[in-house]
C-alpha cells in the first residue's frame, strides 16, 4: 500500500469498518467463484445432487479438465480471434464514440439536429437484437461482411448508444471554459478535442473500454449468426461445444470459463489504474 500511486493520500487513515463490511460482502462473490473452481477440477462422476457433495473439494487437483478444455476449444486460436475482435472493437469504439459524443454533447443544447441525433442513437439501444438478427445476417452476407470484420463493425454500432450516453454524461463534468481557453489560443476544434478533451476523458475511456470489451468478449450471438459454422471460432463460440442437446459437460465448461475469465480480470485491473491515474492527472490541470 505504501507504494500506491496516491502519493500523499497514503498517509490517511485506513477506513477499517468499510473494509470489513466489504470483506463480508465478498461472500456473495467468493461462494459462486468457489463453486465454479471446485466444479472445474472435478470429474463428471464426482457430480452429486446434494449440498455436501457439491461443496466438497475435488478428489484430486489435476489439471486434466483445463488441458482437455484447451484442446476441445482449440483455445489458442479461439482466444486469438476473440482478442482481435475485442481489441479492434474497443479501440474503434473509444475513438469514434468519444468524438461523436463530443460533437453531439457540445451541441445538443443549442442545435436541434444534434439533439435529435442523440435521441436517435440512444434509442437504438432499445432495439431487441432478435429483430435485427435475421436482417443483419442477410445484409452482412450481401456486403461480404459475414466474417470477423463484419462482427467488429456491428459491435461498434451496437455499443454506440450506451457509450454515447456514458460520454455525453461525462462531458457535462468537463467545464466548457477549458475549451474556450484553447480556442482563444487559436487551436482548431479538432486540435482542441485531441489535446484537451480527449485526455480529460481518460477515466471514461477506461470505463467504456471495460464495459464494451467485456460485452464483446462474452458475446456469443453475434459471431454465431454472422460467422458461425465457417470454422473460425471465438472463445464463446468454441465453448458452446460443451453443451449438446441432451448433455452438458459442466466440468470442462467451467474450466474453460475460468480460463476465459482471467484475461478480462487482468485487463480490468489495468483499466482501473487508468481511471484513478486519469483523475489525478486531471486534478493537476
Amino acid at each position: 500500500m505504501a507504494k500506491d500511486a496516491f502519493g500523499a493520500k497514503v498517509k490517511e487513515k485506513v477506513n477499517w469498518p468499510v473494509t470489513i463490511l466489504l470483506l463480508i460482502g465478498l461472500i456473495t462473490i467468493i461462494f459462486p467463484l468457489y463453486m465454479a473452481v471446485v466444479i472445474a477440477f472435478k470429474d463428471p462422476s464426482e457430480m452429486t445432487n446434494d449440498i455436501a457433495g457439491i461443496l466438497s473439494l475435488p478428489s484430486s487437483w489435476s489439471l486434466d479438465n483445463f488441458i482437455e478444455a484447451i484442446q476441445v476449444t482449440d483455445f489458442f486460436n479461439s482466444f486469438l480471434n476473440s482478442l482481435i475482435i475485442t481489441v479492434v472493437a474497443v479501440v474503434i469504439s473509444v475513438l469514434v464514440h468519444s468524438i461523436a459524443a463530443y460533437a453531439i454533447g457540445r451541441n445538443m443544447d443549442s442545435k436541434k439536429l444534434f439533439k435529435w441525433s442523440y435521441y436517435f442513437i440512444v434509442a437504438g439501444m432499445y432495439v431487441p437484437f432478435a429483430i435485427l438478427m435475421m436482417p443483419l445476417v442477410k445484409q452482412t452476407a450481401i456486403l461480404h461482411l459475414d466474417n470477423m470484420v463484419g462482427v467488429m463493425i456491428l459491435y461498434v454500432v451496437f455499443y454506440m448508444p450506451m457509450n454515447m450516453m456514458l460520454y455525453t454524461g461525462y462531458l457535462r463534468n468537463i467545464p466548457i471554459a477549458l475549451e474556450e481557453a484553447a480556442r482563444v489560443d487559436g487551436a482548431s476544434t479538432w486540435t482542441t478535442y485531441w489535446k484537451v478533451i480527449f485526455p480529460l476523458m481518460k477515466p471514461m475511456h477506461a470505463t467504456v473500454a471495460v464495459l464494451t470489451g467485456l460485452a464483446v468478449w462474452n458475446d456469443v450471438m453475434t459471431p454465431l449468426v454472422i460467422m458461425g459454422g465457417q470454422g473460425v471460432n471465438t472463445l464463446p463460440l468454441a465453448q458452446m461445444s460443451f453443451q449438446t442437446a441432451f448433455s452438458t459437460n459442466y466440468n470442462l465448461a467451467f474450466a474453460s470459463y475460468l480460463l476465459a475469465m482471467l484475461p478480462m480480470i487482468i485487463f480490468y485491473v489495468f483499466a482501473q489504474k487508468q481511471i484513478i491515474n486519469g483523475v489525478t492527472n486531471g486534478a493537476v490541470k
Binding site: V88, V137, A141, M148, V149, L237, M240
Partner: protein, 427 residues
C-alpha cells in the same frame, strides 16, 4: 486538415480488415484439385469425432469427391442463417423434427426418393418421416440414418437385485411404484420437471398408446378435438407425481440424470438420448429401457422412436450423384455400426446390426416395427406445449388444460391449418 479524421479512421478500418481477412479461410467454391466438394452440415455435435474419422476415410478412398463434414455447435441456428444468406450446404443432417417440418415447408430440400440408399430404409422409419411434415408429401425428403427411442429408463441391476418385474400394464406400474415406495430405499421416479422439455418425454410415451396416431392431422382438418383424447394421459401424468421426489418442478434434467445415475431412483421416464448424460455421472451403470405400459392391452404397447439423424439434400445442389455416393458410404453397415455403438442409437436401415444392450427391452417393438414418432414433433414449438403440461401438473386442473390446448392449437397452427385446408381441397 479537415479530412484527417476520416482518412485516419478509414486507414484503421482497412488495417483491421486486412489483418482479419488473412485469418479467414479462402472461399471454398471451386476446388483447385478438380474434385467435387460435398459439404455436409450435421447437428449431431456429440458425434463429431466419428464423422471426422469417416470423412477422412472417405477422402482417402475417393479421388473425385472431397467430403467436407462439419458438426458446428448450435447447428440449427447456423443452418437457418445460411438459408437466409441463400448459401445452402449440399447435405443437412438433422432429425425428423419440427425444424425438419419447417425446412421442408420452406421447400429447401430435394426429393431423394431416387437415392439408392432409400431402398435399405426400414418401412417403419419411412412412415415416421412421413408423419412429421405438416401435410403428407409425395416422395421422401431425407434419407433416415439412425433413430432414438423413449419409454421408461430403468436401473437394470437394481431391478434384478430386488426381483422387480418389468410392468406390462399401467396398474402393474403403479403397483411396482407402491412396492418400491414401501421398501423405502429408493424413489420409483426422479423427475426433472424444472426443464419443461423433459415433461414431454413421459407425455409422448404415455399418450402414443392412447390416441390415434394421426390425431394432430385430424384436428387440423377439423375432424377431432384434443380434449376427447388427452384426459386419460393427463391423469396418468398427474398420478406419476405421487411416486416421484418432493417438488419435482424445482429439479432440472441434470439433477434427475444425476439422481438416477446415483441409484436414488429406480426408473426415469425419458429416452435413449439421456443415457450419455447419465453415464457421465456413473459410467458403469447398467441402464435398460422398457415400453411405457399405458396401453390397455400390453400387446399393443408402442415404443416412441424418432429419427434422430437423417440426410436432407438441398434443392440447389447440382452434384447429386456425389452426394448419393457420400450417403451410400455413411450407410455402409460397418460405418452405421460404429455410430450406433458409440451413440447408443438404433439404425433406420435394414441389416444385421448389433443393437446396443440398452434397447434389449424394446427389441420386440423394433423387430416388428411397433414404433411411432414423438407426438411433440407435430406440436408447434411457439405454443409451448411443454409449459402447458407443466402448468397442468402444477395446478392439477385438467379441464383448463384441455380447453386451453384446443384453443391455442387453433391459434398457433393457423398457417398449418390453412395449408391443410388447401391440401384437402386439392385432393
Amino acid at each position: 486538415m479537415l479530412n484527417k479524421p476520416i482518412s485516419r479512421r478509414s486507414l484503421l478500418g482497412l488495417g483491421a480488415a486486412a489483418a482479419a481477412s488473412t485469418m479467414l479461410p479462402g472461399c471454398s467454391d471451386g476446388r483447385s484439385d478438380g474434385k467435387t466438394e460435398v459439404e455436409v452440415v450435421c447437428y449431431k455435435q456429440e458425434a463429431v469425432s466419428i464423422f471426422e474419422k469417416l470423412a477422412e476415410e472417405f477422402n482417402a478412398t475417393h479421388d473425385d469427391i472431397y467430403l467436407n463434414f462439419t458438426c458446428p455447435a448450435d447447428a440449427v441456428t447456423i443452418m437457418k442463417t445460411r438459408f437466409v444468406r441463400e448459401d445452402y450446404p449440399d447435405v443437412i443432417g438433422i432429425g425428423a423434427d419440427g425444424d425438419y417440418a419447417s425446412f421442408t415447408d420452406s421447400e429447401i430440400f430435394a426429393d431423394v426418393s431416387d437415392c439408392p440408399t432409400m431402398d435399405e430404409v426400414q418401412d417403419a422409419y419411412k412412415e415416421i418421416q412421413k408423419s412429421v411434415t405438416y401435410v403428407p408429401l409425395d416422395g421422401y425428403y431425407a434419407v433416415p440414418y439412425v433413430a432414438n427411442a423413449a419409454g421408461m429408463l430403468y436401473n437394470v441391476d437394481m431391478f434384478n437385485e430386488h426381483g422387480w418385474d418389468i410392468p406390462q400394464t399401467w396398474d402393474e406400474l403403479i403397483d411396482l411404484c407402491k412396492q418400491i415406495q414401501s421398501e423405502g430405499e429408493v424413489l420409483p421416479f426422479y423427475l426433472g420437471y424444472l426443464d419443461t422439455w423433459t415433461i414431454l418425454s413421459p407425455w409422448n410415451s404415455i399418450t402414443t398408446n392412447l390416441v390415434p396416431s394421426d390425431l394432430a392431422r385430424q384436428v387440423n382438418a377439423g375432424e377431432a378435438k384434443f380434449a376427447d383424447y388427452y384426459r386419460r394421459p393427463a391423469e396418468m401424468m398427474l398420478e406419476m407425481l405421487d411416486y416421484a421426489e418432493e417438488g419435482p418442478f424445482a429439479y432440472s434434467y441434470n439433477d434427475a440424470c444425476t439422481a438416477f445415475a446415483r441409484g436414488q431412483a429406480a426408473m426415469y421416464p425419458c429416452g435413449s438420448f439421456a443415457v450419455p448424460q447419465i453415464k457421465s455421472v456413473n459410467p458403469d451403470m447398467n441402464v435398460g429401457l422398457f415400453p411405457m405400459p399405458s396401453a390397455d392391452n400390453p400387446d399393443d404397447r408402442i415404443v416412441v422412436s424418432g429419427i434422430d439423424l437423417q440426410w436432407c439434400v438441398s434443392k440447389t445442389c447440382d452434384h447429386i450423384d456425389a452426394v448419393y455416393e457420400v450417403i451410400k458410404f455413411l450407410s455402409e453397415p460397418e460405418n452405421v455400426q460404429t455410430y450406433i455403438d458409440d451413440q447408443n442409437a438404433i439404425p433406420c436401415l435394414d441389416g444385421n446390426f448389433d443393437i446396443p444392450e440398452l434397447f434389449d427391452g424394446v427389441q420386440e417393438n423394433l423387430d416388428n416395427g411397433k414404433l411411432l414418432d414423438y407426438l411433440d414433433h407435430t406440436y408447434p414449438s411457439a405454443m409451448a406445449c411443454d409449459a402447458q403440461l407443466q402448468t397442468m401438473l402444477l395446478s392439477g386442473d385438467i379441464d383448463a388444460f384441455l380447453s386451453k390446448w384446443d384453443t391455442d392449437w387453433q391459434r398457433y397452427n393457423r398457417s398449418v391449418i390453412r395449408k391443410v385446408e388447401a391440401y384437402e381441397e386439392q385432393q
